[in-house]
């Protein structure tokens, strides 16, 4: 939905964003509920323009950033030697912004291959020192960009081939950066090599600005850096979008299927237009294959609309669509229904429609949805969606890749659900089986990931590092259990975590979270049964629950009361505390079959 202040940054021409940035910042800063964020920028050039633009894009994304900038060119010194100011600033993340101009020593023309490798290593080590120093002294995330190619290739095409070529050097160094980012969980790489290529190096560099102000890039370049950074930051804080909602006629195929019929819609390789729709469908499918859900929202007769996906040339098949709405209701109502069925907020949706009137009503009515102005030329849809950087993620897990399949199953469940009058009967029909056990080494990574990304069904929203979760295994006063749930539609994977610590015969629950995929399945009851079981084995008689309210976890306000805990007041930090005597507790779960693991002795 467009913000009430009427500012839509992404629809403004870049020249306006640049010229009016001071006023825009004033207006955007007045928005409510912005999330504070401390960012330090260590620059190899003058970074003010990038920071100004980054500030706007972050404000637009719901952050209130506070910046600390190193003096021009002091990126290494400020991180490695004189780091007091940086440490004192207490950054949430640090952006190390260097460009090819900051490479100190290229391999000399005529050097041997081993000398070349030595030179790459020396340059790489300088950056590694920065990352390591930050890790030791501060421990926050670091975003480091790789390098654009040099402004000119002295050796022409040979520049990419021989050991003294700068282009080859940049390629080798960038490769080292990629390997480092893959190996270091706290190092994120910004791919300026690609970003600059997309703009074109001749438009990226601005030599007058470099000599006059020590700014490397043109204004376009600075803005491309800033928008890409803002997308990374959104990814870090879980504000990445997850669903692509597609119109059908003239969006995923050419023509109107209800009028033209399935034989006449444009898809396939017969004409240039048909090829362009095919290419767009391929783009949508590649998004789905990396974990973005596809949904359909179309004004059509449902039966006819579905036929479009049975067209022999259709790349997208019905099985790729996690939620399908084709009817004559207003689109914003259908999108609300899609959100309910997928159990996801509309602020994680991107809506694509060739019809500007539909775009306007959806943008006006649906909270938080992104509606890129894709125009009506299918050849440009993908490029325009890509420019929004909606789906930027900072890492990938198997979960991400399998997510589309999971939600497909979920959507089937939702349809299935409507067939039952009695909810218990519905739950039984799901034939749910769970594995609920104390933490095991193979799941520690997934458990840590859940503690860091679960916001809604999360009683305390405490975030844990892998090391902290690991420590639970060996601490005899800690009790951590996980839950996995599968049903007739598929395996949901590891979806719930409860973690507590014992003080004499009392267990305080520091963390209780569950993925929203399995809401209202009685999984929390099965988790409580298991928790009590393990707690009693430790000689515990009382379990104390804690609830720390946040903007996002309102859904678990009554969690402990519903589970039969008594409210016993508030702690100093504002958390509500609940208590349950477990000596006479008897198991309550009736709908989920809990599997016994064969324990190794």
């Amino acid at each position: 939905m467009r913000h009430p202040d009427g500012i839509d940054l992404s629809s403004l021409p870049l020249d306006d964003v640049l010229a009016k940035r001071k006023g825009l910042r004033r207006k955007l800063s007045a928005r409510l509920n912005l999330q504070p964020l401390r960012i330090a920028v260590l620059g190899g050039s003058t970074t003010n323009e990038v920071v100004d633009l980054l500030e706007l894009w972050l404000l637009d994304a719901g952050f209130a950033p506070i910046f600390h900038q190193s003096e021009y060119g002091r990126y290494h010194v400020d991180a490695v030697h004189d780091s007091e100011a940086l440490v004192e600033f207490k950054p949430d993340l640090i952006y190390v912004h260097t460009s090819v101009i900051n490479i100190q020593r290229f391999a000399p023309v005529g050097c041997s291959e081993s000398e070349f490798n030595e030179h790459v290593k020396t340059e790489f080590n300088r950056f590694e020192e920065i990352w390591t120093s930050i890790e030791v002294k501060i421990g926050c995330l670091v975003i480091q960009n790789n390098f654009e190619f040099p402004p000119y290739a002295i050796l022409g095409n040979l520049d990419a081939t021989i050991s003294g070529g700068h282009t080859r050097f940049v390629n080798a160094l960038n490769n080292e950066f990629s390997l480092a980012a893959a190996a270091r969980p706290k190092l994120l790489l910004q791919d300026i090599c690609s970003i600059s290529a997309r703009i074109g190096l001749n438009h990226w560099f601005d030599r007058e600005r470099w000599f006059s102000y020590k700014i490397v890039t043109s204004a376009e370049g600075s803005n491309a850096i800033a928008t890409s950074l803002a997308a990374i930051v959104r990814g870090v804080y879980g504000k990445t979008r997850k669903v692509l909602v597609l119109d059908l006629d003239n969006t995923v195929w050419g023509g109107v299927i209800g009028d033209d019929g399935i034989d006449k819609i444009q898809i396939g390789q017969e004409t240039a237009v048909a090829e362009a729709y095919t290419a767009f469908q391929e783009y949508c499918l590649s998004l789905r294959n990396r974990g973005i859900l596809l949904a359909v929202c179309s004004k059509n007769d449902e039966e006819i609309a579905r036929q479009g996906f049975e067209h022999p040339d259709s790349i997208l098949k019905l099985e790729h669509i996690s939620c399908f709405k084709a009817n004559w209701d207003p689109k914003h109502e259908n999108i609300a229904a899609i959100a309910r069925e997928l159990n996801l907020g509309t602020d994680s949706f991107v809506f694509v429609d060739d019809n500007p009137a539909e775009r306007a009503i959806v943008e006006g009515q649906v909270q938080g949805i992104a509606v890129p102005n894709v125009g009506s030329d299918v050849a440009r849809y993908a490029e325009i969606i890509e420019a929004g950087r909606y789906f930027e993620q900072i890492s990938f897990s198997r979960e991400d890749i399998e997510r589309a399949a999971l939600y497909q199953e979920n959507s089937e469940r939702a349809i299935f659900e409507t067939k039952f009058a009695d909810y218990g009967e519905y739950l039984d029909s799901l034939q749910m089986t769970a594995e609920i056990e104390r933490f095991r080494p193979i799941y520690l990574e997934r458990i840590t990931q859940l503690t860091n990304k679960t916001n809604q069904f999360n009683l305390t929203t405490r975030r844990y590092t892998l090391a902290e979760i690991e420590a639970v295994l060996t601490d005899s006063d800690s009790l951590g259990i996980y839950g996995k749930l599968s049903d007739r539609f598929g395996d949901n994977g590891l979806i719930s975590v409860v973690l507590g610590h014992r003080t004499e015969n009392v267990l305080d629950i520091d963390l209780w979270l569950m993925s929203c995929r399995v809401l209202k399945r009685d999984m929390e009851i099965a988790m409580l049964d298991a928790l009590v079981d393990h707690a009693r084995a430790m000689g515990i008689t009382t379990v104390r629950g804690h609830y720390i309210p946040t903007k996002k976890n309102g859904m678990v306000l009554d969690h402990f009361t519903k589970l039969g805990f008594a409210s016993v007041g508030e702690s100093e930090d504002g958390a509500a505390i609940y208590s349950l005597e477990i000596t006479g507790y008897s198991p309550r779960n009736t709908h989920i079959k809990v599997m016994e693991l064969v324990h190794e002795q």
Partner: protein
């Protein structure tokens, strides 16, 4: 383009960049008598002027300018040469 038109055009840029909607620019305006016209704002002003009039200032062209009047003269000569 006349000096008056250019002065008005520049005034609009200065108002946007400096976020001062009542700013009145004269040919005598310079970094001393216009509030907040510091070195950072200067870069933003130059960029905005280049974009608006689709010109590019060569290295050194700007360093001898004393005030907005000089900028108008430079702009006129660059626009005439286009």
């Amino acid at each position: 383009m006349s000096s008056e038109e250019l002065l008005l055009g520049l005034q609009e840029i200065f108002r946007d960049v400096l976020d001062q909607e009542d700013l009145v620019l004269t040919p005598q305006s310079n970094a001393e008598n216009v509030p907040d016209w510091d070195s950072l704002a200067h870069v933003n002003l130059v960029t905005a002027i280049e974009k608006k009039y689709k010109v590019k200032f060569a290295l050194g062209e700007l360093q001898d300018l004393k005030n907005v009047g000089d900028m108008i003269e430079l702009l006129q000569s660059k626009l005439a040469a286009k």
